[in-house]
């Protein structure tokens, strides 16, 4: 076989491998595993809520898009379709109680439902921000 054909064949194989790797690890890369991710911040749920109430911009710069671990006593566990939401309520607003809402990862739903909500709880998840009423944390998981 001529040398240039061999070179072309090797280049083609390298190209195919590169394309497969890009497809798998870049285009099709998995979503972050928030259950395993280390928290960027750990604080009381009430502190987190008050941070946004006091200075929304500063709190957003600090917490939005970060993995946040919050602790406190839950007010209730809410179910909405397939979502299970841990709710910390701190004050009444124009549209009812306001606080921190943690939407759990699907594999954490049963664990949260089984928790005794009268005790202190620690939850971790991805903070998406403050919507003017509540601080929203998603992909939540139980830490304790």
């Amino acid at each position: 076989m001529k040398k240039w054909i061999k070179v072309l064949a090797v280049l083609a194989i390298i190209g195919i491998i590169a394309a497969v790797l890009v497809f798998k690890f870049v285009y099709n890369k998995p979503h972050p595993d928030f259950e395993k991710k280390k928290a960027d911040y750990s604080l009381m749920a009430k502190e987190l809520y008050e941070s946004y109430k006091m200075d929304e911009t500063a709190a957003a710069d600090k917490f939005n898009g970060k993995v946040v671990e919050v602790s406190g006593t839950l007010s209730k566990v809410e179910t909405s379709g397939e979502l299970v939401i841990a709710v910390f309520e701190f004050e009444d607003g124009m549209f009812g109680p306001e606080g921190v809402r943690v939407t759990m990862l699907p594999n954490q739903n049963d664990a949260l439902k089984a928790v005794d909500i009268t005790g202190e709880i620690v939850l971790k998840g991805f903070c998406t921000g403050y919507n003017g009423v509540d601080v929203i944390i998603e992909k939540g998981s139980l830490v304790n």
Partner: protein, 182 residues
């Protein structure tokens, strides 16, 4: 004295009555869908805050941009970092009115057409919109539904040339909120 007591009760009743006219949800659903010959992209946000005052027709919703979920992590990353700049503009909102609220009987089961108009803010840009939808009343719950299109360019969302053929110029937005009495 007696008149004062009557007035206080009347005031309390009117406040209570005005609260009874508000319906809301914290788990509304907004989906957007982009369709091009190269690929379809869709995202869902199930953390939509929405409120409707059936006495005035005031209708609002607010969404956190980072709460939109995509099938592919890379798309979600690009959506937040490159297109919507969600660190700079963390929310999108609608603030408006159901202009034909008087023709919607919130106490009677049924499906009613709704004319909605107001200000839609996305990516820090506010535009007046006028859309149609439905409100379905069932067992005291009002389900609001609307499907409309939003032009990406209207909200100054810049799509890089490399992916300009992958993202539609007009995105289909579906709003589905189940509003319960406050």
């Amino acid at each position: 004295m007696r008149i004062s007591v009557v007035l206080i009760f009347a005031l309390l009743f009117s406040i209570n009555n005005s609260f009874a006219q508000k319906y809301m949800t914290k788990n509304g659903h907004i989906r957007f869908f982009s369709s091009t010959p190269l690929e379809n992209i869709e995202a869902h946000n199930r953390q939509v805050n929405s409120a409707l005052d059936v006495s005035t027709g005031d209708f609002v919703f607010k969404v956190l941009i980072k709460s939109f979920e995509f099938e592919k992590a890379l798309m979600q990353e690009h959506f937040n970092e490159n297109y919507m700049e969600s660190d700079k503009f963390p929310n999108a909102s609608f603030n408006g009115k159901v202009t034909n609220i008087s023709s919607i009987t919130h106490t009677k089961d049924g499906t009613y057409n709704a004319d909605v108009e107001g200000k839609l803010t996305i990516h820090g840009v506010t535009k007046d919109i006028k859309e149609k939808g439905t409100f379905t009343v069932k067992d005291g719950v009002i389900q609001g539904f609307s499907k409309f299109n939003v032009k990406v360019a209207d909200y100054e969302i810049k799509i890089p040339g490399a992916v300009v053929n992958n993202i539609a110029e007009s995105i289909e937005v579906t709003v589905d909120v189940k509003l319960e009495k406050l």
